[in-house]
Amino acid sequence: MDKVSTIEGRAIPLGLKNVDTDVIIPAHWLKTVSREGLGKGAFETIRQAPGNPFDVEDFAGAPILIAGDNFGCGSSREHAAWALLDLGITAVIAPSFSDIFSGNAFKNGILTVELPQDQVDRLLEITVDHPVTIDLENQTVTTPFQDRFAFEVDPFRKHCLLEGLDEIGLTLERGAEIETHEQQRAQALPWLDAPQRRDAA
């Protein structure tokens, strides 16, 4: 997974509350075999409305999304995180997130930043014309003006994002322990290894 330290650039000022996973990626996009390409279906209903922020040329490829309360509520579908990534979004700023969504976002290297509503409102104004900077190391969001907003982040998640460690990478670091367990298991519960193979049967 790519390391995340500073995310700098334009931010899409969506601002809506309760953006659920059906809005992020409608159900009919789920019968796919890839994590890629879901950006086409991302926010499909919102993007059908004329004048929506996704249509603004300045925001094409913007790495940040700014939303309202309870972003990512609804189902547990991981496709929501994949759709954002495919759109080029690697950070979302909102007053709150659904737990499952922020877990899925983290697993896919997307940073979720919680800021109070008034600070989010301020960012929604500024980002119409200006970029913002999210500094994960120092846990701040800054603007070209004097704004400097501090945010909280779980230390474990921060470490993983900064080091580019996904959960699988972390577990793989425990390879020696897994091997030891496998050896003990081969001694104690040998029948669990090497089940008959169909081709060998």
């Binding site: 075999v33 425990r174 029948w191 089940p195």
Partner: protein
């Protein structure tokens, strides 16, 4: 070990802990991983992108089931027939390519052993007592019926298991569901689990792993135990378990993937230690009286919405909780039912016998027993039997059950998930009712607007011949339950 008394769940968990972190999170070793076509493509894709391998392909088994059509898969010359829906075809093609590319054993859509993952696992002896078993499907809990710790996982976790053969997890709490006494005649394991969910509610097991205990389970067949554990997830639990015993051992002995010879003897010796210690403490206990269980049907859109078949549709006001009252109103509206209506007056147009809950040989026998010499009522438009696997199908054919079903007006299909979740062409039309042996009666589960009544196989057969939800005990001479 002279340590503190442990539950069955704790014994299996402890035997699989690779490492425990200070915050309680464990790296848990996974013994068996079942893979199907719907939740695996993105996991394999991610492995490929990261340049990772499958750590233990030998502990992984792939079989397609979720969106395969249940119509014939080959023509009379034996050539494979194409799948019409391009997305289903792409998911199947992805599994077909990924399994050999990563060295995983693959049961092809046309193989005689193909079937629903949760039917195939135990049937092939791939699922074993005391093993940790996962699959990207929430009804993996079914394998708890043979005494395994089995649970469903998401796509990221599928990838995690493929790459590391482990998961990072925190232990669940333990819950005991103890059933006292004996089930009455004509009352099946499906009725029992529907009744249990009605008692504990769909959140009753949240955060817990359930162990089902009591003489009823000791006397129950493996098929029945799989049915009960399968629906643990509808009771909110991550997994359900029944202590393995001789019934399980003789079921597994000689199955293709099961251990043999000396390995088998060693395995049985360990399996015999797999039961909760007499003084083990559960975080929660629920006691059910088996004599209270009647043939049970669901009336609403949540699996906890159940009543005995002799009962009536409840009035929303009868629920104490205001949010449950409004949920009930919505359910009744969707289901097109009136409060107070007799359950036995509800006419049905469709019957589905299948799904990983009730598609094993005993289920088909129970339904065929009721259907023998009878035909479906004229208002029943569509009735299908979808065996859980190709082997179940062959066994049923050898016993002549297919003849009974087709003579009764049922269609006899190829194995798969089918109308359980309607990802393939088998759907219940909008506004129509279906007596279904599956596990979920959610809004739209069997197709947009479809109205599902969850029942046992015998009750589904009774619904087919009467054209309404009917008490199977009033139809046929009551037979001893094959439980």
């Amino acid at each position: 070990m002279a340590s503190k008394p442990r539950t069955l769940y704790e014994k299996i968990w402890d035997a699989h802990v690779v490492e425990r972190r200070d915050d309680g999170t464990c790296i848990l070793y996974i013994d068996r991983h079942l893979v199907h076509e719907v939740t695996s493509p993105q996991a394999f894709e991610a492995l490929r992108l990261a340049g990772r391998k499958v750590r233990r392909p030998d502990l992984t088994l792939a079989v397609p089931d979720h969106n395969l059509p249940t119509t014939p898969r080959t023509d009379t010359a034996g050539n494979r027939l194409p799948i019409e829906d391009p997305q289903s075809a792409a998911q199947l093609a992805a599994l077909e390519a990924n399994a050999p590319a990563f060295g995983i054993d693959y049961i092809d859509a046309t193989a005689p052993e193909q079937g629903i993952v949760h039917v195939v696992g135990p049937e092939q002896g791939f699922s074993l007592p005391g093993a940790t078993i996962v699959c990207g499907d929430s009804h993996t809990a079914a394998h708890g019926g043979i005494g395994a710790l089995a649970f469903g996982i998401g796509t990221s976790e599928v990838e995690h298991v493929l790459a590391t053969q482990t998961l990072q997890l925190r232990p669940s709490k333990s819950m005991e569901v103890r059933v006292e006494g004996e089930l009455g005649p004509g009352v099946t394991p499906k009725d029992l689990i529907l009744h249990i969910i009605g008692v504990i509610g769909t959140a009753g097991g949240t955060g817990h792993v359930i162990e089902y205990r009591g003489p009823v389970f000791e006397q129950m067949s493996v098929e029945g135990r799989l049915t009960v554990c399968n629906m643990s997830i509808e009771g909110g639990a991550r997994a359900g378990l029944i202590a393995p015993d001789d019934t399980v051992f003789s079921y597994l002995e000689g199955r293709p993937y099961a251990p043999r010879g000396e390995a088998w003897d060693k395995a049985v010796a360990w399996w015999q230690t797999l039961h909760s210690d007499p003084d083990a403490v559960f975080d929660k206990t629920v006691v059910i009286n088996a004599a209270d269980v009647e043939p049970t049907v669901s009336w609403g859109t949540s699996p906890e919405d159940v009543v005995p078949v002799g009962g009536v549709v409840p009035t929303p006001e009868s629920f104490a909780d205001p949010s449950k009252q409004s949920a009930a109103r919505k359910s009744l509206d969707y289901m097109g039912l009136e409060p107070g209506q007799r359950i036995e007056d509800i006419a049905i147009e469709n019957v589905f016998i299948g799904s990983c809950t009730n598609s094993r040989i005993e289920d088909l026998r129970a339904a065929a027993d009721v259907l023998k010499g009878r035909t479906k009522a004229s208002n029943v438009r569509w009735a299908i039997v979808v065996p859980g696997s190709g082997l179940v199908k062959r066994q049923a054919e050898a016993e002549g059950l297919d003849q009974i079903f087709t003579a009764a007006g049922f269609e006899w299909r190829e194995p798969g998930c089918s109308a359980c979740l309607a990802m393939n062409p088998d759907k219940v039309p909008p506004g129509e009712r279906c007596a279904s042996t599956s596990n979920r009666n959610f809004v739209g589960r069997q197709g947009p607007g479809a109205r599902t009544h969850l029942v046992s196989p015998a009750m589904a057969a009774a619904a087919a011949v009467t054209g309404r939800l009917a008490d199977v005990r009033t139809l046929a001479p009551c037979q001893a339950v094959d439980a």
